[in-house]
Structures are given as C-alpha cells and as structure tokens.
C-alpha cells in the first residue's frame, strides 16, 4: 500500500494560476493546509516565459471601461466566449494587478509613478500592464516569493501527478510520484485545483516549454470531465524561426512592423485599421497566406517565414522595453534586432479549450476546480486576445482558490477509495515501468508533433484532419502501454516522459475529433473547406467525453448577455 499524504486544498501545477490559487486559499484561513504539486520546480513553470503583459482596466477616467474591455474580448473570441464570465473576469482584473503590485511586482511605471500600460493586439485601449518584456518572470517570482509568506502552503517540487481520485462525482485526492526517489504516494485532499497549463507540446513548432504536455487535461478527461472547445488552438504570429521561441506581441505593441519578401507591410491588406495589432488569429492567417502565396522567405527546413522589423524603433526603446526580445534574437537567432529584421512564423501558443468549467471555475466533479490555461470557462472563446490569458490565470486562480477554501471549511476528512490507488500503482509500476511494451516514446512523440503541425495548423481541412486522426490512432496502437528503458526508481525521467506521451496522445485525439466535427471557421479554427462563420449551427461549445471508442461529442450553448454576434472587422 503506498504512503498517504494529506492536505485540505491540493493544487496541481505551479504556474501563475496555481500559485495565485495557493496564496488565495492560504490567506483565507491559516488552518487550511495547501499543497502545490508540480512536476518541475515551482519557479520553472512556463508562466515565466510570458513577456507581453496583463490586461486590466486601470484608468476609466481616461476612456477605458469594463464594458469596453469585455466587448474587445467578446469580439476577439469571435463571439464564442461566455459573456457572463468575461464580464466577471474584467471586473476582478484590476484588483489582481494591484495585488501583484502590492506584493512586489515591478510593473513599469508612468512618469507620475502609476502603473504604465501599452497597446496590445485586439484591444481598443492601451490596457496591457507590463514589466518591461519579462512580465511573466516577474509575476511568477512575485507569486512564488509570496507563497513563502504563508506557512500553510507547502510546495512539492518535482512531484508528478499521475491521476485524479474521484468517487461518486466527488474529488478525493490524487496519486503522485515523488520524482526524486521514485516513491508513489496517494495524496488525500478535500478540494483540488487543476492548473497544469495547456497542450502546446502537441506541436513541434511551439512557444511552449518542454513541460507543457497536457497532463492535467488528460487526467481530468480520464475521470469523466469533458474537455471543452479543444479544436481552438492559438497560433501566435511571431515565433522565432527555427526554434519557435516566442517573440512577444510587445514587439508589435511597441510599434514593430511585419514585412513580406517585398518589404511590404502586408497587414494593410488584412486589417487596415489595426494593422499589426489585429487579433492573433487574423495576423497569423495573414502571415500564412503571404507565405503560401510565395511572398515569404524560404527556409531549408520548410519553416518559411516573414520578417518582424524593429529596426526603426531605435536602440533606446529596444533596450528599455524589449530587452528579452533583444536577448532572444541575438542569442538564439543570431540577429541584432536593432539592425536586422527577425524571421518569424506563426507558432502554436495557447490552448483556448480545456477542462470544462462553469463561470466560476468549477468542474462537474464536486470539490474539483480548474484554473488558467488548463481550464476552459470559456472566456477566450475561439481566439484569445493578447494579455488576457495571464489575466485569466490571476482572476481564476483567485476565484478558485477562494471557493476551494470556502468549500473545505465545511468538509470532513476525505477518504479516497483504496482500489483506485492500488490500480493506479499497478498500472504504472507493473504495467509500464516493469512490464511495459510498445515503441520508443520519443519517436512516437516526434511523429505526433509532426502530424499535428502538418494537419492541424493555422489552416485546416476535413480530409487532412481525418488523415491526422487516423495517424494518431495508429500511434496509440504502436505506443502500447508505453515502454520504459530506464528501470531505476530515482528521478526516472524516462518513465515520466512515457506517461506524458500517453497523455498527449489522449488529448491529440480530442483536438482532432473536435476539429473534424466543427464544420465552420471561427477564430483560430479555420477550415479551408468551410471558410465562413456559421452562427446558426455552430454558436456553441464542443464538449468531448471519454468513451471506450474515442471521444463522444456534445454541445452546449454560448452565454450571451450584452453583445449579440456581429461581423468581426479590424
């Protein structure tokens, strides 16, 4: 029988949403024991990489308003976002900005000492609060450091959660492996929050770190929670060729240009008003169109690109506000952005879909919440605006943390079912570690990524998606239970990688099935065979449930409060 550990609120994932939730739950009552389980060191979560900023209405006296922010978000989402949730979110956002400010966040400032804001794609007001172009690093640091303030938060660095323990529709805990010594634990908890981030590593050309392997999504999916809107994957316009490292939208926010082979600012043909600062789906499609029509620069690896031109901004602006971009361009691209344009191409960047939750971040399982990119509330609908994701992480981290704290106060001790724990231990150690069979997981992963990049990229097509689905199912067959070459217990990364690929295959299937079913083009999901938005048939969210023979799809309506669907023009 594996050892047992206990906590009141258990948080899986230590990114922005996870840490924010931990702080909220812990500050609510010092008797609530909060455990954060993370498969990396908490500070290594990929939230550290976001650069641009966090959107919030800070200066209504200057013309911004909650309604304007909500409308921008709704319009950006191609009217698929739930408007009640969006209104709730934008209302809480400024408070979160100020909380971070009070906890030590070095927001960039105006001359009068107040928080500065910069323009961002799709926003009709300059409302992205930023800290140079390392906002994520500073925000993560602020939150991670603040967790030290609370003695009732314990962070379990490098613990890999393998499954959720659910009985009678109620959350009971998780099973996890302590990677350091390979011990298997059952972790009892009264409430759980999943904040494991997105599924970006399904693609080979991606801005995500190596850790974003959709674990949380797959675990939730396996215990019967539907995954919502998984066909919507955002492609950020500017990923550095060839690594895929993100060149933040801040580069365009500060006035960078996109140019094609002829040196032309081609965005004038696609979004004449907003130009480079149109929403990401539109810019990405424009770039891909330029590339496909032969106006891009060729790349020997097939990663054709266009140019992001910052040379006219001057060294001073780049040094003060775009330092990280300068570092990335010089070190990884071998290009000095003050002198040469940067080669960029649309890159997998964000999973709009995720674990199905209601307006407040609650999943259908009692006691289980989801927050951040792993969740789909849905506030981003079919396309997310820049800076809104980190706002969502903070706001929903706060909301779920608060609710979880309230929830556990009235709960007795949770008692997870033994047979589930034993079965999971058997599956991992007897089934995979000692007795695993199947092909090399790394090759499977590479093939999966190539398939997804080829068929489920910016432009999609029914036939291609079906082809990809066939391929993914074939990969699943070849993967078997998963084969682990490294038989040792201590820090068995090979085992973890196998478990990750297992989860990725699961989620990839959902993405493809959802995408095949949606026969329209909306936001980031653009079907060449159905290029029009279809509000009559498709103004609804996809829900994918796990069944023995693949995902079963269901649909629920979009909540509309103030803004009926209209044509989207920038």
């Amino acid at each position: 029988m594996p050892d047992k550990l206990e906590a009141d609120v258990l948080i899986v994932g230590s990114g922005l949403a996870g840490l924010r939730a931990a702080i909220e739950a812990a500050s609510n009552d010092s008797n609530i024991r909060v455990a954060v389980l993370t498969k990396v060191h908490a500070m290594r979560s990929h939230s550290v990489a976001y650069a641009g900023g966090t959107a919030a209405v800070l200066y209504p006296e200057e013309g911004d308003s909650f309604d304007l922010h909500a409308f921008d978000t709704v319009k950006g989402s191609d009217y698929l976002g739930d408007q009640d949730a969006i209104e709730l979110m934008v209302r809480i956002a400024p408070q979160e900005i100020l909380r971070l400010e009070h906890w030590g966040m070095p927001w960039s400032r105006r001359a009068d000492g107040r928080i500065a804001q910069r323009p961002f794609g799709g926003h009709s007001f300059d409302r992205a609060c930023f800290a140079a172009d390392k906002t994520g690093l500073y925000a993560m640091q602020t939150l991670y450091n603040t967790t030290h303030k609370y003695d009732n938060i314990e962070i379990f660095h490098e613990w890999y959660v393998t499954s959720l323990l659910v009985e009678d529709g109620e959350f009971k805990g998780v099973t996890a492996i302590d990677m350091k010594n390979g011990e298997f634990y059952a972790f009892e908890a009264k409430a759980g929050i999943i904040a494991t981030g997105g599924a970006g590593r399904l693609y080979s050309f991606t801005t995500y770190g190596h850790s974003a392997t959709a674990d949380g999504l797959a675990m939730a999916y396996r215990v019967g929670i539907p995954l919502k809107d998984m066909e919507f994957i955002q492609f950020h316009p500017t990923g550095l060729v060839p690594q895929g490292i993100l060149i933040s939208e801040a580069a365009r926010g500060e006035g960078g240009y996109l140019r094609n082979k002829n040196g032309e600012r081609f965005m004038k043909n696609y979004a004449p008003q907003k130009m480079e600062l149109a929403p990401r789906d539109i810019v990405s499609r424009a770039m891909m169109k330029e590339i496909l029509e032969g106006r891009g620069f060729p790349d020997p690896n097939g990663l054709d690109y266009v140019h992001l031109d910052l040379t006219h901004l001057g060294e001073e602006v780049i040094d003060e506000k775009l330092t990280e971009i300068k570092m990335i361009a010089i070190k990884f691209g071998g290009i000095d952005p003050t002198k040469e344009p940067i080669p960029v191409r649309p890159v997998a960047h964000y999973t709009m879909g995720g674990i199905h939750t209601d307006t407040y971040g609650r999943t259908p399982i009692r006691g289980l919440f989801a927050a951040g990119e792993a969740a789909c509330v849905s506030v981003h609908g079919a396309n997310r605006l820049g800076c809104n994701s980190t706002m969502e992480c903070l706001v929903y981290g706060y909301l779920t943390g608060k609710q979880a704290a309230e929830y556990v106060k009235e709960k007795g001790k949770s008692d997870p079912p033994q047979e589930l724990i034993l079965a999971e231990e058997k599956r991992i150690f007897d089934g995979i570690l000692r007795g695993g069979s199947g092909e090399d997981p790394y090759m499977i992963k590479r093939e999966l990524q190539n398939t997804m990049s080829k068929y489920a990229y910016v432009f999609r097509e029914g036939e291609g998606l079906k082809e990809a689905l066939k391929k993914v199912r074939e990969l699943r067959q070849r993967f078997g239970t998963g084969y682990v070459a490294d038989k040792s217990r201590e820090f068995n990364q090979n085992l973890i990688n196998v478990l990750e690929v297992d989860m990725m295959l699961e989620v990839a299937e959902v993405v493809l099935v959802s995408a095949i079913a949606r026969t329209e083009s909306r936001g980031a999901h653009y079907r060449l065979d159905y290029p029009k938005r279809d509000d009559v048939n498709w103004l609804k969210h996809t829900l994918a449930y796990k069944t023995a023979d693949g995902p079963r799809l269901d649909y629920i309506p979009v909540k509309i409060t103030k803004w009926p669907p209209a044509e989207r023009k920038y």
Binding site: A49, I92, Q95, R99, Q141, L246, P343, Y407, E490
Partner: protein, 271 residues
C-alpha cells in the same frame, strides 16, 4: 538561416546514480550539430535517439526558467543558452552543477537552496496587512525607484551563482549569492519595510559577510543580474543602518483607484 552543414561533436557526459552506483562514470556520445544547436538540444537528441536513461532537468529552452544549469567544460552554464559550436571544442564535457547534491546524472538537489531562500523572507513586508490583501490603489513608484532593484529581480534561480562561489565550495551553510541577491532585491524595494526582520539570516556567521568578492557569481550569471553587486550593496546597507545608525525612512504614497472594489458574490459549493 540554418543552411549550415552539420558537424559531429563528441560529448562526455557524467553518469551517476548515487543509490546504485559506487562511483560516477563518464559516457561518450557522438552527436551531429549545426550552428543553432544548443547544448540542451544536443543532450535531448542523445536522450531521444541514443540513450533514454540519460537524465537532465530542462523545461523552457529559452533561458528563462533556469532548469538546465550545468557544468559545461568545467564552467557553470545554462545548457539552453550555450550553442555547441560557440564552445570551440571537440569534446564537450557535461557534468552536474558543483556544490549541490546529485540526485541522478545531471540532476542536482535544490531543496537546501529553497530552504535557505525561505530564511531571508523573500516577500514584501508591510504593516498595512488589509491593504496588501484587498488593495484600494497603487503604491507610487517612479521609474527611477524601480531601477534601484530591477536588475536583481531578473534572477531566474538557476542556482549557478551559488555553484560557482568559492565560499559555497566549502561552506554548505553560506546563504550564497542567489539568496543574498533575492534578499537585497526586497530590501532595496521602496515598498518593503522588512529590513530588520531579515537581519537574523543575512547578518549571521553564514550570511552576507562570508562573501569575499571573488565575483564568480556575476561572471557565470546568464541573465545579467550581477549578484556580487547585490551583496556589496547589501553590506553597504547593513553598515549604514546597523553599524553607523544612519536610517533613511521609506515612505510610500498610496494612489487610490476608485473603480476597484473588493467584495463580490460567489456561489457556494455545488448544486
């Protein structure tokens, strides 16, 4: 762009599992690399194509998460921030960071480091507790005040500075550059009022006075943080305040923001 031809490079990688092996061994691999291949890319290529048992800690691959600090040719470097060909050597020696306990292969144990971090109370300490939790405005801070600490806030906690430090080489209790830098980041923040409360850890026998300005920490820092500078400025603050008794009072103005409201209605439990 990446039209450059591929070159074969030899890697000598440190392999050791303290639980099962008696002594470490060096294993050699040959990898094809091009101009843009980083050491991390090469190691992952080894892991995925040649030896899945090789254990490396890695995550973001863009020098911002701080996972992949290791000894590359005997110097602390981030594997993702070092291009293989930039090293100009035929054999590349890769070993775990010095002065941390080894968990396996290239993975080292950071738990002591994180424990030390907690000792210096790395968060904003203020008396207005209610304002901290439910803000009504923003603390005024000019860009100039920001510049006083922003360099030290750039730390990604890769732990390489503490690994390079010659004092940490003999004294495991020494807080080390990473932690002292973190402490000074908060002490120099105009919003923070917790100077006295951090003294117990900083001003101890294993605190900031064990630094002897070898500046190796700054030499290896991949983010331009300059922890040596932070430590010296920290000592300056200690001497100024603790020894000479010159205290500069920190006063931070709160600029209220009317539209931010604290309370909201949330549903309770599940229906």
């Amino acid at each position: 762009m990446s039209t450059d031809k591929e070159v074969e490079v030899k890697f000598r990688v440190f392999r050791f599992n303290p639980k099962t092996d008696f002594v470490p061994r060096w294993q050699e691999y040959k990898v094809k690399v091009n101009k843009s291949t980083t050491v991390l890319d090469a190691l992952l290529k080894i892991k995925e194509e040649q030896d899945p048992t090789l254990t490396i800690r890695y995550s973001c691959r863009q020098a911002v998460c701080g996972s992949c600090g290791m000894m590359i040719n005997d110097r602390q470097m981030l594997a993702c921030f070092t291009r293989v060909l930039e090293l100009n050597s035929d054999v590349i020696k890769v070993a775990p960071l010095k002065n941390y306990r080894i968990i396996k292969d290239l993975v080292t144990d950071f738990s002591e480091l994180f424990q030390k971090e907690k000792q210096v109370k790395p968060y904003i300490i203020r008396h207005d507790v209610e304002e901290l939790l439910n803000p009504t405005g923003t603390y005024k801070q000019t860009e100039e005040e920001l510049l006083g600490y922003i360099q030290f806030a750039d730390c990604i906690e890769c732990g390489m500075c503490s690994s390079a430090c010659p004092v940490s080489a003999t004294d495991p209790l020494y807080l080390g550059p990473m932690i002292l830098n973190r402490a000074y980041r908060f002490i120099s923040d105009p919003r923070d009022l917790g100077f006295e409360q951090r003294l117990e850890a900083i001003d101890s026998e294993h605190g900031c006075w064990r630094c002897h300005f070898a500046a190796s920490c700054s030499a290896v820092c991949p983010k331009g943080v300059d922890p040596a500078k932070a430590i010296q400025l920290l000592r300056r603050a200690l001497v100024k305040k603790g020894v000479l008794g010159i205290s500069s009072s920190k006063k931070v103005e709160l600029i209220p923001m009317g539209h931010v409201k604290g309370k909201l209605e949330l549903p309770k439990g599940w229906e």
